[in-house]
């Protein structure tokens, strides 16, 4: 049996959660929560935590040197640095429009990387 202590972020209450798992990694108990959302958060954080990754990608010939990006959906938490490695090597030509897919299935997560702002072409 293993125990993880977490702070719930589902609301401003910030309940201190205690999540117990058995030898196989299966959640056996969540305590300390004051609502159902807390239990769900505790289970997910311990079994399959996910995050949205936001960053910037280089733009060639753009009105600004970088374009802000995010993963279109959540990716597994342990793939964050693999996603960042791809982001750092990506460079796209201007123009870029908000919502454009800049990398498909990034780092094998099944999630696309999209632009979160628009960067026009630099006028020569």
């Amino acid at each position: 049996m293993a125990v993880r202590e977490l702070i719930c972020i589902s609301c401003p209450l910030g309940c201190p959660l205690r999540v117990e798992t058995d030898g196989a990694g299966k959640v056996t108990a969540v305590t300390g929560n004051t609502c159902k959302r807390g239990e769900a958060y505790g289970r997910k954080e311990v079994t399959a935590p996910t995050r949205t990754v936001t960053s910037t990608v280089l733009v060639a010939g753009g009105q600004s040197p970088v374009v802000s990006v995010r993963t279109k959906g959540d990716v597994p938490k342990d793939s964050i640095f693999a996603v960042m490695a791809v982001i750092r090597e990506t460079e796209v030509p201007a123009p870029v429009a908000l919502g454009d897919v800049l990398a498909e299935n990034i780092a094998g997560t099944g999630v696309d990387l999209i632009a979160t702002c628009t960067v026009g072409k630099r006028e020569e």
Binding site: L6, I9, S55, V66, S68, I80, R88, L98
Partner: protein, 426 residues
């Protein structure tokens, strides 16, 4: 050049955009937004992280995406705006307000406005306001400056980082610098609690194993040309460093995230009275300042933690300014002062005039300490108008309540807004 406009909005960030949209939707055609940057959107453009708009759009957007929704609406409504335009003077003349702006494209312009909406936002408290000892090398940045360098200009300010202050921008930058390959050694916070949102502490520090040292401050900065190290120490209850608790970090960068200050230089020029607590204008229930026809909203009024509430507040300011332009000043009764009590530090607005109230008025406020099992009460003349339970309240999270017109008789001499823990003495 001299022109006239019904409503001039100073600032094209989230507050200015929402105010402009609301004023146009309320029927005012003649609006002008003045923005000093090259683009609309304000600080949202550099806030590339997600978590914006949960309240307004029921989805998690990044800052630029949230801004884009308002910019798009401004374009749909064909609301005029001027970019790269700085307002240099604001003054009252007769029944109108004169806004003087300057830009490369239009030169000096004097705009006579029936109503002005202040939406200039806030700025970061700089190092000079902190009295940190040590040398003055390169490598010390406010967290927002670092955010701009990384997210808009594509530069990394450093590789080994200590952050002083656990405000939200500092927490966000701890994660951002880590993702870009820097090592964030610790975040030191003077107070025994963080001023940042809990989700940011969990997702920006805990996720990356970055230590948060509460009740710690920077006592020395080493390095002559560039930062070479930073010493932090524990502070006592008097917030003074305790000798013998020093800890040294080898680093090349120190980020400061030590609070935001509403940017009110223009407001002061116009004679707007400011609150010593918020640093923003004192406003009535219509969000009008003490100077007739001058309204305020967003971070220039008081620093917010969620942009959704900035948009809501700014929309109210826009509607109220539109009402002034279209219907003239409403018949005023007697403004009743709102008095903060218990743990409540301030309220926005700071006065209420029941004669002018239309339906509910939202009162926004902050507490000065952490409370558990708290009650928020509003009372006037010994009468309790409202009581709300709050399981927890924190200085970093803005609170709000709605006050109904029918609860007030107009005869009140003052209204008290109180927050305290259960069983705490009055």
């Amino acid at each position: 050049m001299s022109i006239e406009r019904d409503i001039v909005i100073i600032g094209g960030g989230p507050a200015g955009l929402a105010a402009a949209i609301a004023a146009r939707e309320a029927g005012v055609e003649d609006i002008l937004i003045l923005e000093r940057e090259k683009e609309l959107g304000g600080i949202l453009n550099q806030c590339i992280h997600n978590g914006f708009g949960l309240h307004t759009f029921k989805e998690e957007l990044t800052g630029p995406e949230y801004a884009a929704r308002y910019v798009e609406r401004v374009r749909e409504l064909a609301i005029p705006y001027r970019l790269s335009t700085t307002v240099v003077d604001l003054r009252r003349e007769g029944d109108s307000t004169i806004v003087t702006s300057v830009s490369k494209a239009d030169g000096l312009t004097e705009i006579q406005a029936k109503a002005v909406i202040l939406a200039m936002g806030c700025r970061e408290r700089p190092r000079g306001a902190l009295n940190i000892p040590g040398t003055r090398p390169a490598g010390i940045f406010s967290a927002g400056t670092a955010q701009r360098l990384v997210n808009l200009e594509g530069w990394m300010p450093g590789r080994r980082v200590v952050i002083l202050g656990s405000g939200d921008i500092g927490l966000i930058m701890a994660r951002r610098m880590t993702l870009e390959g820097a090592k964030v050694l610790c975040v030191a916070e003077l107070m025994p609690y963080s001023g940042g949102l809990k989700r940011n502490i969990v997702q920006c520090l805990d996720d990356y194993g970055i230590p948060l040292r509460l009740s710690h401050t920077v006592v020395d900065i080493q390095g002559k040309e560039r930062v070479e190290g930073v010493t932090i120490a524990k502070v006592g209850e008097d917030l003074k460093p305790i000798p013998g608790t020093e800890e040294q970090f080898d680093c090349d960068t120190l980020l400061l995230s030590v609070g935001l200050l509403p940017e009110n230089e223009l407001s002061k020029q116009a004679g707007v009275e400011l609150s010593p607590v918020t640093g923003g204008p004192k406003v009535s229930e219509t969000l009008e300042t003490g100077v007739p026809g001058v309204f305020a909203c967003g971070n220039v009024l008081h620093v917010h933690d969620l942009v959704d509430y900035v948009s809501e507040e700014a929309a109210a300011a826009g509607r109220n300014a539109a009402r002034l332009v279209l219907e003239g000043a409403p018949a005023a009764g007697k403004p009743i002062p709102l008095i903060p009590s218990g743990a409540v530090r301030y309220t926005v607005p700071s006065t209420l005039d029941p004669a002018r109230m239309e339906g509910d008025v939202i009162i926004r406020f902050r507490v000065g300490r952490n409370l558990r099992k708290a009650a928020v009460t509003v009372s006037a003349g010994g009468r309790e108008l409202l009581r709300r339970k709050r399981p927890v309240m924190a200085p970093g999270e803005m609170e709000q309540i709605a006050l109904k017109k029918e609860w007030l008789t107009g005869g009140e001499t003052e209204i008290t807004l109180d927050a305290r823990e259960e069983g705490e003495e009055t």
